[in-house]
Symmetry: C2
Subunit: 430 residues, 2 copies
């Protein structure tokens, strides 16, 4: 944050605050008059990013994989070997520990949850669906679709803070003493939305901690493993080795996908885990699928060429995304520095900026932004059941709009943050 001469809003005299409020009202009225239509709601790749992968539209060349299998036909539940090898390399696991699936890692997570509910894991006393209660540890803020999936099955969600180095381990350790706590979510690298990356130490603690449930599972959603925004590239903690080394090889199930590497809706999703977990997953999926789309998998193999091809491709994304994230930070710094009404993350990877505004004003900020034509993710979305107890958290997703739209939107958001804060401090509503 740049040095600023602006005064903290809480230090203003009543008259100064009244004047400030009027200024923000005027600024907001001007913002509304601009008639913007901007959308920062979802972590979608932009058109420019999608264009990076347009070669996929005319691939694959031929229709056989490296083993000579005709990829057009049925079969091959675990995916084609050369794509599994490529992502085994990238995810730091063995090929036999990787399944290359369909177009949605969310679907693979859901598959696992359903299998746990209806069958249980080999180390489960009974199917999770036959337990009185099932609870999950949910670091917050977190990914809304993780929470809505659990909610749809009535699974109780217990929150722990997401710190700069990952989930609060002491809080997690306390919760997992309850045998009803069967699992936890985590986005370990460039987390949605905080941007923080789980350290090796935190991962090690999660891998080795005692849990009352013998079949405790960590849903390790490594959605942003390769999604660096700077040259300082985070290395994902090697949870599978850590878990194996501490005697809990089946605890983590890792997920990843090319959704934010190639085409968001038409990529390839991956599951990586112990061989026993992979066998368990495929053992049930054999009844539910004729195998993944191998043509699309071959398409991706040819497009990337090698694991390094994936890394190289991600640098092109970085060149497009980097300036947008910089624009978010600049707009917020320029308008809010010194005002002490907001803090925000400066992520070095991933898709989101986490904006924490004055307690009790997040909903109002989103409402104001909507009134000015700027769609933001609903306040509270990053919390289970959409409930942010402090009503302060807003997830900003600057990837989809073009750069000048990001700039315009964020200037507008900053105005809304200031207006909402001034209203709150002045004890009035707009």
């Amino acid at each position: 944050m740049t040095e600023s001469t602006a005064t903290a809003l809480s230090s203003l005299s009543p008259a100064e605050l009244e004047a400030f409020l009027e200024t923000q009202r005027t600024a907001y009225a001007a913002l509304k008059d601009r008639g913007l239509t901007l959308d920062l709601t979802r972590g979608k790749p932009s058109v420019e990013q999608l264009d990076l992968s347009n070669e996929l539209l005319s691939l694959p060349r031929g229709h056989k994989d490296a083993s000579g299998t005709d990829v057009r036909n049925y079969g091959g539940l675990s995916g084609i070997t050369e794509l599994r090898q490529m992502f085994a390399d990238l995810l730091w696991v063995e090929t036999e520990q990787v399944v290359a699936g369909g177009n949605s890692s969310l679907t693979m997570m859901h598959d696992c949850l359903v299998q746990l509910l209806l069958h249980g894991a080999p180390d489960s006393p009974r199917p999770w669906g036959q337990e009185e209660t099932v609870k999950f540890v949910c670091p917050v803020p977190g990914y809304d679709r993780h929470f809505t999936m659990l909610a749809s099955y009535g699974i109780e969600m217990l929150t722990v803070p997401m710190n700069d180095d990952g989930p609060d381990v002491a809080a997690v350790r306390e919760l997992v003493k309850d045998p009803a706590v069967k699992g936890m979510w985590i986005v370990p690298t460039y987390a949605n939305p905080s941007g923080s990356t789980c350290s090796q130490e935190v991962a090690s603690a999660l891998a080795s901690m005692e849990t009352a449930a013998p079949d405790f599972r960590i849903f390790w959603d490594n959605a942003y493993a390769f999604h660096h925004l700077t040259e300082d590239e985070a290395k994902s903690a090697d949870i599978i080795t850590l878990a194996s080394g501490s005697g809990h090889p089946n605890r983590p199930i890792m997920f990843a996908s090319t959704s934010k590497i190639t085409f968001a809706g038409s990529g390839v999703a991956f599951l990586a885990a112990s061989k026993a977990n992979v066998d368990w997953y495929l053992g049930h999926q054999q009844f539910a699928s004729i195998g993944p789309d191998k043509v699309n998998q071959l398409r991706h193999v040819q497009f990337f060429g090698t694991a390094d091809g994936v890394r190289e491709h991600m640098r092109k994304h970085r060149e497009i995304l980097g300036p947008k994230f910089a624009a978010v930070d600049e707009a917020l710094t320029s308008a809010l520095a010194g005002r002490e009404v907001a803090t925000w993350s400066k992520p070095s990877g991933g898709y989101f900026v986490n904006l924490d505004v004055l307690d009790g004003t997040a909903s109002r900020v989103v409402e104001l932004a909507k009134g000015a034509g700027i769609a933001l993710t609903p306040a509270g979305a990053s919390f289970p059941l959409g409930h942010d107890p402090r009503d302060r958290n807003i997830r900003l997703a600057p990837s989809f709009p073009v750069l000048d739209e990001v700039e315009a939107a964020m200037a507008g958001v900053a105005t809304c943050v200031l207006l909402a804060a001034a209203e709150k401090l002045a004890g009035v509503r707009g």
Copy 2:
């Protein structure tokens, strides 16, 4: 069947039978000496059929659907509209009643079953998984993967005969008086493996019958709706209109796919049902998917052009498949006519020939064929839990091998049928 001078095996004298057995042993030894490696196990399209769709490998042109949506990005859970329209036309339903999904209709069936187990339908007293017992009506012979899916969830399977015009309605009516009977499978058109097509009358009876379960569901797997082998094209019964007209609009859920139209592993699957069922399906799938592969859907739209394009394309499949099915019939007729040891279907569509051999000899035929390098689907596969109570049913899948392989394989199978029958009648084992 052509007129034949061959004598029924059961009419042979003991000495004649002994001589016949010796002849067949010699024929079988000669068959083994040929060292064949042929596979009639699965209903897979042949290379020649897959080649019909190779244009897909360099499609789509562009990346926007008719509404201007960028198909490369996230979203659109129900699939792109123009593909839904095309298959609504083909399946004789409204566009809003169709979901275009991923690459596997089996997955959509499984999704529905899982939703019923974990959530139930709107007309369910409780989730099916909370019932003491769940039972399904299973016409036999039927599709093995339908049965293995149910078995994986411990669902009890009650068989009814599959007649020439569909399931035995009287038997079904009796079974559905039990409120634990929650659903039934049917492959209504060119059934797997019998080849029979459910008549409008039978469909009407199934749609209108009283069921004790208020949430009874018919899983109407219309996998072969367009897969004609002759110019006499069967029309699938319009189960959705029939069910709606008889006051049970939510009873049927139809499934279809392009797996045996374009690429078996990389096609598009469809679900068609009442609007309420579609809403129920999507209402849960929203938590489990980021949407289907819309690029692949656009690829299919461009490849087919129109619904008539699909019909035209199917005629090319017919030209390839027709001679193979004729070869099966010729080989069986030539070797078995008059012997009274086997009957077989002469399907006018679909992917299978249903061969019923002498009671108690199907396993032996499959074993003998294996010994001669001819892989057949395991005996009993078309029955729940793999158990054919008469051990007589064999499913033949002649689509994948080239024509002369089909001829060679079927001549070999006929030899095995005769040898097994002679062994049985002579009271000996090879």
